[in-house]
């Protein structure tokens, strides 16, 4: 078996096209199940009432915002080290979804913060570092598109993404390092401080966010592949067929 068979844009194009619909179907099913658990089955929180239910969107998107940045930086490192074309395309395809996840996490956090803390926004370490993450995504996208030569944009933005990785541990550990208003983690490998249906709903919603991100990335990478490879024979054959 050739492990690098799908490392070529022309072969990956077909694979991505076959995988993307399944990702979206899985995302829809998981989201339906997760929202059912979260909105109808899970009990009302003793302290926060029904407001806490925003976590079923907020926590999965916040996790994905960090995970997608890490994944993007990994693809960037691959593209810089091995000079592989598809890695750079994947990194570019991930960035808009990651920025959207970051934005949703901040937005839903604001809706949760108003009734609970009494303010849409506080300059707390967790919130500030997540906002910085949003700007890192924007900076990456802007730099990647700022050059006439797309390969130049790939390499410059890849290095920027790798420098920005330093922000991820700051976000993740901010609730431990600083005594923040944002609460600490409720879920850890040592166990959880939540009701089990809440946890299940949150994990199912994370699966939905994950599948959506994969599907959206695959659709976007197909568009990028077509744009970059438009002068090659296989894309012309695709157009002719």
């Amino acid at each position: 078996m050739n492990w690098f068979y799908f490392a070529s844009p022309s072969t990956f194009y077909g694979l991505a096209g076959r995988m993307a619909p399944w990702c979206f179907v899985a995302a829809a099913l998981l989201a339906a199940w997760g929202l059912f658990l979260g909105l109808l089955v899970a009990p009302t929180d003793a302290q926060q009432g029904a407001v806490y239910r925003v976590i079923f969107i907020h926590v999965p998107t916040a996790w994905m915002s960090m995970f997608l940045y890490f994944l993007m930086a990994c693809y960037c490192a691959l593209s810089l080290i091995f000079n592989t074309r598809l890695s750079a395309m994947m990194a570019r395809a991930i960035a808009p979804t990651g920025a959207m996840m970051t934005f949703i996490a901040l937005w839903t956090g604001a809706f949760w913060g108003r009734p609970t803390w009494g303010a849409y926004w506080v300059w707390d370490a967790r919130l500030t570092s997540e906002l910085v993450l949003l700007f890192l995504y924007f900076g990456y996208i802007a730099l990647a598109n700022a050059f006439e030569d797309p390969r130049r944009g790939d390499r410059a933005s890849a290095l920027l993404a790798i420098i920005g990785v330093i922000n991820l541990p700051i976000i993740y550990f901010s609730v431990q390092w600083w005594n923040t208003l944002h609460q600490g983690a409720s879920v850890s490998f040592r166990g959880t401080s939540m009701h089990v249906t809440m946890l299940t709903g949150m994990l199912v919603m994370s699966g939905a966010a994950w599948m959506y991100a994969a599907g959206a990335t695959l659709v976007r990478v197909r568009a990028i592949i077509l744009e970059r490879e438009r002068r090659t024979q296989w894309v012309r054959d695709l157009g002719a067929a």
Partner: protein, 242 residues
């Protein structure tokens, strides 16, 4: 580039030019300092911008002494950060436009050496004057003497990190569309942690707590940046030139 190095090897087969980090560092730093010395307006503009921004805040917010002493450390840090940021294009941009940067990549010295030298020169021209001027601005804000010392110390530790981070971003943005706005979007988010700890040090001193945790983190950031970022700057310069 390989063709040029092949040409050079043919021209001097007997003794191939020996490049080194320190050689490139010293050469580039001396060159950029000499340029800055002969065109002092750039350094003077940076310092003037800093003084001007810092004097706008009392005029805009109000000049009550308690208020000024409260916002002083933060305003001075933000002003110094913006001044250091505006000086960033001086590091590589003019050399990139006139082709000197390409010539430097042909030199036997590694890019990481002379790029670090250029950043060190940039810090001496922008960061050091800002640090030296900060006590004077702090006096205008009515900061106490020990706060002034901590403020200058935090700037002395923080501005080299800003120069290194900003230098990497400035090299990445060479030849990009969007110019200064793009550079702001790249560099300013990365400056945020340094701003928080830098302003936090003087703030802690002003409110009667110890500034040591903040200063220790700044020193740690400086060490990490000095070790790690020159590689990023060297890579960014090579990406920009080839």
């Amino acid at each position: 580039m390989t063709e040029a190095s092949a040409l050079r090897a043919r021209a001097a087969p007997a003794k191939a030019a020996e490049g080194s980090f320190s050689g490139g560092f010293a050469w580039a730093m001396a060159r950029d300092l000499r340029i800055a010395w002969r065109h002092p307006d750039e350094a003077v503009l940076t310092v003037a911008f800093f003084a001007l921004v810092a004097s706008l805040f009392p005029l805009g917010i109000g000049a009550e002494p308690q208020l000024l002493a409260r916002i002083g450390p933060g305003v001075i840090w933000v002003g110094a950060l913006l001044a250091a940021f505006l000086a960033l294009p001086n590091i590589f941009a003019s050399d990139y436009i006139d082709g000197s940067l390409e010539q430097m990549t042909l030199s036997p010295h590694p890019a990481i050496g002379w790029a670090s030298g250029k950043i060190a020169a940039h810090w001496i021209v922008s960061g050091v004057p800002l640090t030296l001027l900060s006590p004077l601005i702090g006096l205008q804000y009515g900061l106490t003497p020990d706060t002034l010392v901590v403020q200058a110390l935090s700037l002395a530790l923080g501005t080299p990190v800003l120069s290194l981070l900003g230098g990497a971003c400035a090299a990445l943005a060479l030849g990009a569309r969007g110019g200064g706005m793009l550079l702001a979007l790249l560099a300013l988010p990365l400056f945020v942690p340094i701003l928080i700890f830098g302003a936090g040090a003087a703030e802690a001193q002003a409110t009667g707590m110890t500034p040591m945790p903040h200063l220790s983190i700044l020193l740690a950031a400086l060490i990490a940046a000095t070790v790690g970022l020159p590689f990023a700057v060297g890579t960014a310069v090579r990406i920009a030139v080839d």
